[in-house]
């Protein structure tokens, strides 16, 4: 059903599943407005000509027409309610991300975007796979920015001190601009108060040149919608820092692995049930758990690497007393390297 249209005179290309819905209501209002506008203005001009002042013509005293007045007060209400309904429907779709969304973390700062992918890698341009809901969890380190991709028809302010969210599902391979839509200042002077040079480039993918004056207008980035294969290739290219060590035939240092594990714990959603602060959620906290003696429904166990890996792949094997066996298995969703890294992370939380 999502027959996505190319760019028209008024609207950019449709690249998301949301876009056709937005454009439908856009054109509904547009044609309604055209009808209203042409009606009002032609009536006005016609009346002004027909009843123009001339000898023998006199204005008729104004009468009353209650029906007409109530009519044009009430009639718009129905249209307005319809518009509100359609608009709100679209907005709700935009506000509730599907459960199977891939989470990409967006960090905004003056004047650049950073995108952090589930594998912990990050880039300054957003790459997403096609036909996959993407949920962007965004925050800003300094002032308010706004994430805006015209072709996706999404825009959301990125406010310091709070998280904001936007999601989309790209419908076809392609690319579009990412703009900052909320004014966030600018800088035209370099060190010593010298004016920075400024000239935009003709490269449509990189219209602003690094090292020049920068600001709200140049907080530009690109969205690349890629096939699943291309995206995987991209992910690999920015991926796991441990890979470098492993490829060189060395062991990944615990620190690097633990950092990567922390990112994984986040992106894999472990942290939804396990805290790292000692507080108890659905599952035991990871703080200081490594090396501890725990009693389980299968008897006492020492929390070591083997038990952690077992618990991830087969959560119901040994359940710590006082908890319920509600954790789903991650078998098949987690690589051995990732298992090691999460284990390293839990290990690092010992103290």
């Amino acid at each position: 059903m999502n027959e996505n249209a190319p760019a028209t005179f008024q609207l950019p290309e449709q690249m998301s599943t949301l876009a056709p819905q937005v454009d439908w209501i856009y054109y509904f209002i547009f044609w309604l407005s055209v009808v209203m506008f042409v009606g009002i203005v032609s009536a006005m001009v016609f009346f002004a000509w027909k009843y123009r002042e001339r000898p023998g013509h006199k204005a008729e005293p104004t009468g009353h027409n209650m029906t007409l007045e109530i009519g044009w007060t009430i009639a718009p209400v129905f249209v307005l309610v319809f518009m509100f309904h359609k608009g709100f429907e679209g907005y709700l779709n935009l506000s509730v991300a599907p459960a199977n969304s891939m989470i990409v973390k967006v960090n905004a700062k003056q004047w650049a975007w950073e995108f952090v992918y589930p594998n912990g890698g990050s880039s300054d341009e957003l790459h997403v796979p096609v036909h996959q809901p993407i949920k962007l969890v965004m925050d800003s380190a300094d002032v308010i920015h706004s994430f805006y991709v015209p072709a996706l028809r999404v825009k959301r302010d990125v406010v310091p001190g709070m998280f904001s969210m936007v999601w989309f599902e790209a419908t076809h391979v392609g690319h579009d601009d990412i703009f900052c839509a909320e004014y966030c200042g600018g800088r035209s002077t370099g060190p010593g108060g010298t004016e920075l040079p400024y000239a935009p480039s003709d490269d449509p993918l990189h219209p602003y040149i690094a090292g020049q004056a920068t600001g709200h207008w140049s907080m530009h980035s690109m969205l690349y919608v890629e096939s699943k294969e291309d995206f995987d290739k991209f992910l690999k290219s920015i991926g796991d820092p441990c890979d470098a060590y492993v490829n060189a035939g060395k062991d990944c240092p615990l620190k690097v692995a633990a950092d990567q594990g922390a990112k994984l714990a986040q992106s894999k959603g472990c942290v939804a049930c396990h805290t790292t602060t000692g507080a108890r959620l659905v599952g035991p906290s990871w703080k200081g758990i490594f090396g501890k003696q725990e009693s389980t429904d299968k008897g006492g166990v020492s929390v070591d690497e083997a038990y952690i890996k077992e618990s991830i792949l087969d959560p119901n094997a040994k359940i710590v007393t006082g908890y319920q066996g509600v954790m789903p298995t991650f078998r098949g969703q987690i690589s051995d390297a990732e298992l090691d890294e999460i284990t390293a992370y839990i290990k690092s939380l010992k103290d």
Partner: protein
């Protein structure tokens, strides 16, 4: 506050005031007669002078900003300067020009006359309001000189807490201007309540007065919130109070709530007076009463009330909760109803009227044309899912310029041409006025029509530079500003020429039945020689006597002929 009605008991100010029966411009002379005048008409004129100056300054900033956008990259200024210039354009236009424009100049001049009063209720507060305005202007100038501000006129936190220190001076200036606005509103509200001449019942109030009354309500109820917002912003910069500072646990979006609780009603403070002027113009130049007088009057009050319920529509993508977003969207659509009622009623008034296409009427029809576009494009922005795409783009820029400039400024210009003879006693050249009108009207559309398109295509606003695909729209828009400037300068020339070299205007040059035309041209110091007793409505052309409607042009022509002979 102490100044609320503090008469100098026993003071015989007769000599400081002048003869109540002499024309107000001649009742007393000398610079002191202007600086210390308590006459609402002179205060209105002084306001008009400064408001026009502010419009000129804001307009020059607009021209420079558009000129910079004529080409990609650097055209005439660097990015920081650009940011300052669009901020100053916004601040000057909003706080110095549009908000005081119609109420403080035309309103001050005509509101008391239209209700048959000798003056506003608190003439000294009125003068105080003018000087407070000047003080605000001075502080704003200081802010500009001391480094200018690059926050945009909205002062959003936390950027406004990080950027240059002149933000404090700027917010103080706006804070002071707010007081001026409050004083004007308070004065008008009390004047309408207590100063109406015998026979001026609520159902006989001219629609201009209804509009001013609704505006006054909003000025009174909204502006204090701006005051506290700006105080908090200054306190935030000095002490770091933390209410709006995310670093201290505050919430930047809360600032936006505070700001727009004032600034949304402020948008109606800007447009309702424009509508008020337009009702007068339409009635006079169709020679009949406004169709649905009651509905038009109530729609002004309706807008005033609804203006307080919809501020959240500026925050649809700002991080507001979905529930608040839904509610504000629903409330926003309600605004369409009173606005629509006005448009429909004006159009219906032209039907079966006797339409005189004088220059003010051209402005009135342009108002309907442009405001309809401004209003209808508002529907795109009130609808949530399209707003997400369109907000913070040039679509919004075009939308509010169609409302603010296509609405208020056009009505203000129409009102100026319409009332110029009454205010100055001099008639302008209609031909020049019409030339000015067409340049303004065409230029305006050339500036802002392309902005709708580039906005819906995704061009964000407040950009110093843009991508190649938007270049053509920016070029056309910039060329439009030049046409617009020609139109505005022609109109200004027309008015000034009339002032210095114009033909003496008769009492009622347009043949209006409005109350303000029933007194001398220009009015005497006391407005009327005797307290008027009103026996008909301001638009009752069928009840007005031929003498009342007599334009007096025959006499003027006869005199001119006699002189020639």
């Amino acid at each position: 506050m102490a100044a609320v009605d503090m008469p100098v008991a026993g003071g015989h100010a007769e000599d400081s005031h002048g003869d109540p029966h002499a024309p107000y411009l001649k009742a007393k002379s000398g610079i002191g007669s202007w600086l210390f005048t308590l006459d609402h008409k002179r205060i209105g004129l002084m306001y008009l002078a400064f408001v026009a100056l502010a419009f000129l300054v804001g307009g020059v900033f607009a021209l420079l900003v558009r000129l910079e956008l004529f080409t990609r990259g650097r055209t005439i200024m660097d990015g920081e300067t650009y940011n300052r210039f669009f901020t100053l354009h916004g601040a000057a236009m909003v706080f110095l020009f549009i908000i005081p424009s119609v109420p403080a100049s035309l309103g001050n001049f005509f509101l008391p006359i239209m209700i048959g009063a000798k003056d506003v209720a608190f003439p000294r507060l009125n003068l105080l309001s003018f000087y407070v305005y000047l003080l605000g202007v001075a502080v704003l100038l200081f802010a500009i000189v001391s480094g200018a501000v690059d926050t945009g006129w909205t002062f959003y936190t936390p950027y406004s807490m990080q950027t240059g220190a002149s933000v404090i001076a700027m917010t103080m200036g706006v804070f002071i201007l707010g007081f001026s606005s409050i004083l004007t509103g308070l004065n008008f509200l009390v004047t309408v309540h207590t100063m109406r001449a015998p026979g001026v019942t609520w159902t006989r109030l001219p629609l201009f007065v209804w509009g001013m009354y609704a505006t006054a309500l909003m000025q009174i109820l909204a502006t204090p919130v701006l005051a506290i917002t700006l105080l908090l912003l200054s306190a935030e910069r000095f002490f770091g109070v933390g209410i709006f500072d995310p670093k201290l646990g505050g919430d930047p979006v809360l600032f936006q709530h505070f700001f727009w609780f004032y600034s949304h009603p402020a948008v109606y403070i800007m447009i309702v007076p424009g509508m008020a002027v337009n009702s007068e113009l339409i009635a006079t130049f169709t020679r009949r009463s406004i169709f649905g007088y009651f509905a038009v009057a109530m729609s002004s009050l309706g807008l005033a009330l609804l203006g307080f319920l919809v501020w959240g529509h500026h925050l649809f993508v700002a991080g507001m909760s979905e529930f608040a977003t839904m509610m504000f969207s629903a409330l926003t659509f309600l605004v369409a109803i009173p606005s629509g009622v006005k448009i429909f009623n004006w159009t219906a008034t032209i039907y079966k009227g006797s339409v005189v296409l004088a220059s003010p009427m051209l402005y009135a029809m342009a108002f309907i044309f442009l405001f309809t576009i401004g209003g209808l494009t508002g529907l795109f922005l009130g609808t949530l899912s399209t707003d997400v795409h369109l907000t913070d783009t040039y679509f919004v820029v075009a939308h509010f310029h169609y409302v603010m400039m296509g609405g208020t400024v056009i009505a203000f210009l129409g009102g100026l041409l319409y009332w110029w003879p009454k205010m100055t006693g001099k008639m302008h050249d209609e031909k020049k006025a019409k030339v000015g009108f067409w340049f303004t009207f065409i230029g305006f559309n050339v500036v802002f029509m392309p902005q709708f398109i580039m906005g819906s295509r995704g061009m964000p606003r407040r950009y110093y530079d843009y991508l190649p695909q938007f270049e053509i729209f920016h070029k056309v828009s910039t060329v439009g500003t030049w046409i617009l400037a020609i139109g505005l300068f022609t109109t200004a020339y027309t008015l000034l020429e009339a002032l210095f070299r114009g033909q003496t205007a008769p009492r009622n040059p347009w043949g209006s039945a409005g109350f303000e035309w029933m007194t001398d041209t220009p009015p005497c110091l006391a407005n009327f020689h005797e307290t008027p007793v009103i026996t008909r409505g301001p638009y009752d052309y069928h009840l007005a006597t031929p003498e009342e409607l007599d334009t007096g042009w025959d006499k003027v022509k006869a005199q001119a002929q006699a002189k020639k002979d």
